[in-house]
């Protein structure tokens, strides 16, 4: 479904991604790990179309379509979801209105008519349960006054609502206590199917105890320098990243 070839990207003229290659198929879960500053968040931003980054080389194919020429909202309609590391607050816009606008834009893209208010609220209620999101939060402004854990749960709630084909979760585990981590991971697992795929970006093994990826990739200095199975994550947890640096001759 997703094919990344030789992807280069920079921000303000500084090259961050220096040739990424990655293939993701439906039903798969991939984890991208790596030290700070390796380019993990940049990769997720570039895939989602954040205009702050400039792609200088390479291609990204998503179900046969060129992802890089699409606007961020078109990527969303095509089924790319980004769970933000730092979900932004939007004062004055209630979660209900926000989600309703999002859902109806997706429906419009598919040629479907907007959901009625009652159908929409039913859907909200159903999906809220996936991450045990409080009804009160749904009535508040987007992320405003949410705790760190609530913000992350809210991300997974939105993922549940939009039913993406590819979810990229950018350090969804950061800032979570152990209960929130469990709720968030269980939410992700519930949403997993043979038709969708997940890319998890994380520093830590602990998230991978819950969300079990088949593929682990180590991102270092803008390149994927090592790929492997679940055992690679355990090795990293044990030894840190230094041995990889050594392997690379640094």
């Amino acid at each position: 479904m997703l094919e990344i070839k030789n992807l280069h990207a920079n921000i303000n003229g500084k090259e961050i991604l220096k040739g990424i290659d990655l293939v993701v198929r439906p039903g798969e879960v991939h984890a991208i790990m790596g030290p700070n500053g390796a380019g993990k968040s940049t990769l997720s931003s570039v895939l989602a179309g954040n205009p702050a980054f400039t792609v200088t080389e390479g291609e990204v194919n998503f179900y046969g379509k060129d992802l890089l020429t699409m606007l961020p909202e078109q990527r969303s309609w095509e089924g790319v979801f980004l769970g933000f590391q730092y979900p932004v607050e939007i004062p004055g816009v209630s979660m209900v209105n926000f989600m309703r606008a999002a859902i109806n834009e997706h429906r419009k893209y598919k040629g479907e008519s907007p959901l009625s208010a009652s159908d929409f609220l039913r859907l909200m209620r159903e999906k809220r349960e996936v991450v045990e999101l409080d009804n009160k939060l749904a009535n508040r402004s987007v992320n405003e006054g949410f705790s760190g854990g609530e913000k992350k749960r809210n991300e997974i709630f939105q993922m549940a609502m939009l039913e993406p084909r590819l979810s990229i979760l950018d350090e969804t585990d950061s800032g979570l206590d152990i209960d929130a981590l469990r709720i968030v991971s269980e939410g992700v697992n519930k949403l997993k199917s043979n038709d969708n795929a997940t890319i998890v970006i994380t520093h830590y093994q602990r998230l991978l105890d819950y969300i079990k990826p088949e593929f682990i990739h180590v991102l270092y200095k803008g390149r994927i320098v090592k790929s492997g199975g679940p055992e690679l994550a355990l090795e990293l947890e044990e030894k840190g990243y230094d041995w990889i640096k050594k392997e690379l001759g640094e």
Binding site: A48, P72, I90, G92, E105, L162
Partner: protein, 482 residues
């Protein structure tokens, strides 16, 4: 990154005016220019009594001694008052008696504006007094209101049918000596609405006037006079649009509200005059004097305005809180985009004891526009226990626009409690991207955020108006995000 975000916002706010059609109606316009003869001609065309003409001429004499005010934070090009025609009326001398008699072109216009008279009559129960150019076209629901003793008619009719009321209240809140534009309006006003709610009557429906400037080179000078007698209540709606024209058009209106003991008036405006094009060519000059006199004890006035149109706006809906325990409220959203300028706000004059006022002003600036809040809270020495709360927020959508606040407090009594809060914020690129990522395109995202920001004020509008205002807020900022 910064540049990028500005570009996006600029794109989203550089939009086109959606109400810019011209209605092809046979219109009677008098030649341009302003002198005593013109005023006599207007008065004669309207078959006015002598006292009305005298009022106009006095105002005109006074106006001639005055100069355009220059204290506002506005750049106003020189206006040639001799190049304007002061009277334009759709030609059709006999007033329509039923919907069938209304000019189909006119009905089409109103339909485009989203106010099908017929439908509104049947469905929403709103009585509409539609004013196109200078003559009131049709007043609905008059009979039903008449049963309750409520008078709702065009100003010209009121002059003929209720001369005593008009003579008593005309100019009692806004004197023709009040300011330059008030004097001009008093001299040349062409029509408008008159409302009288008798003692103890609660007006069962929202009264609504829809103003539209259609003819080229004309000014619109309407007057609204609302009198709420003891223990009465009325909610009044005013909406305005105008077609696109390259030249600037002048709109100088007066709204006077006189409120007796324990009476309440809620006055809501959605103003969407043509704002000019992207480069600031054309557009309406909206110089309006709106004032309410809370004469009676426990009287209350609430102004709610959503201002998205006009090239230049100069308006300060105010409350004179003369009665003891009277209350004044002002809720405003003012949007400026492209090269629009707005200098708007309110005056709350506390004179009676235990008077209260609330001001909530939300300015939204985009493009190269300038948006100023100007407010006066005055507590006179005798106004014991006056209370005021002011909240004044600005939202910026571009790096080229300006938001300014000029709050003035003049407190003459030590028992007063006056609060002022102010914030300035900007729609950030990360907020827009967050919305985009969820599938909400930038324009819709801006609309969503702006409507969220303005919610507190929009929610004060009556239901039908609130929906229109929300759409308008989104449309006005299309092509302007940054």
């Amino acid at each position: 990154m910064q540049d990028n975000s500005n570009n996006i916002l600029d794109e989203v706010t550089g939009n086109d005016y959606k109400y810019g059609f011209v209605t092809d109606i046979d219109t009677e316009i008098i030649p341009v220019g302003l002198n005593e003869d013109v005023i006599k001609l207007i008065s004669a065309k309207k078959e006015e009594p002598e006292w009305m003409l005298e009022f106009r001429l006095k105002a005109f004499e006074y106006w001639k001694t005055m100069k355009m005010p220059t204290w506002a934070h506005l750049t106003i090009p020189e206006i040639d008052y001799q190049a304007i025609s002061y009277y334009a009326a759709p030609k059709k001398k006999e007033g329509p008696k039923s919907m069938e008699e209304v000019d189909p072109e006119l009905v089409k216009t109103f339909n485009k504006l989203g106010i099908p008279l017929e439908e509104q009559m049947m469905l929403s129960g709103i009585a509409v007094d539609a004013v196109m150019d200078s003559v009131s076209v049709k007043t609905t629901f008059k009979e039903k209101l008449a049963e309750l003793g409520i008078i709702f008619c065009s100003f010209s009719e009121a002059v003929k049918d209720y001369p005593d009321l008009i003579r008593k209240y005309l100019g009692s809140v806004v004197s023709y000596r009040d300011n330059f534009y008030a004097a001009l309006n008093s001299a040349v006003f062409s029509d408008g609405s008159f409302v009288y709610i008798p003692k103890g009557v609660r007006c069962p429906m929202e009264l609504s006037t829809y103003f539209r400037i259609n003819a080229a080179n004309t000014g619109q000078f309407e007057r609204t006079l609302i009198v709420a007698d003891d223990d009465s209540y009325v909610s009044y709606l005013e909406g305005c649009t105008a077609p696109m024209r390259d030249e600037n058009q002048l709109h100088a209106a007066i709204v006077e509200i006189y409120v007796h003991d324990r009476a309440e008036v809620k006055y809501s405006t959605v103003q969407n005059w043509y704002p000019g094009d992207k480069n600031g060519i054309g557009g309406i000059y909206n110089f309006v004097t709106k004032r309410a006199l809370c004469k009676g004890d426990f009287s209350k006035v609430s102004w709610t305005q959503v201002e998205t149109g006009s090239a230049i706006t100069w308006k300060y809906p105010s409350c004179i809180l003369a009665g003891d325990n009277s209350i004044g409220e002002f809720y405003s959203v003012a949007v400026t985009n492209n090269h629009q300028q707005a200098d708007t706000g309110t005056k709350m004059i506390h004179i009676g004891k235990n008077t209260k006022s609330t001001i909530v002003s939300k300015g939204i600036s985009a493009g190269y526009s300038q948006n100023s809040y100007r407010g006066l809270v005055k507590v006179s020495p005798k106004a014991e226990n006056a209370r005021n709360y002011t909240q004044c927020d600005s939202l910026l959508l571009s790096s080229h626009c300006g938001a300014h606040t000029f709050p003035l407090m003049d407190i003459g009594n030590n028992s007063a409690i006056v609060e002022h809060e102010a914030t300035t914020s900007k729609i950030s690129e990360s907020q827009i991207f967050y919305c985009n990522q969820r599938g909400i395109p930038t324009e819709e995202a801006v609309g969503l955020i702006v409507n969220g920001y303005a919610k507190e004020v929009v929610n004060k509008l009556p239901m039908e108006f609130a929906v229109e205002a929300q759409k308008l807020l989104s449309i006005s900022l299309e092509g302007s995000v940054g």
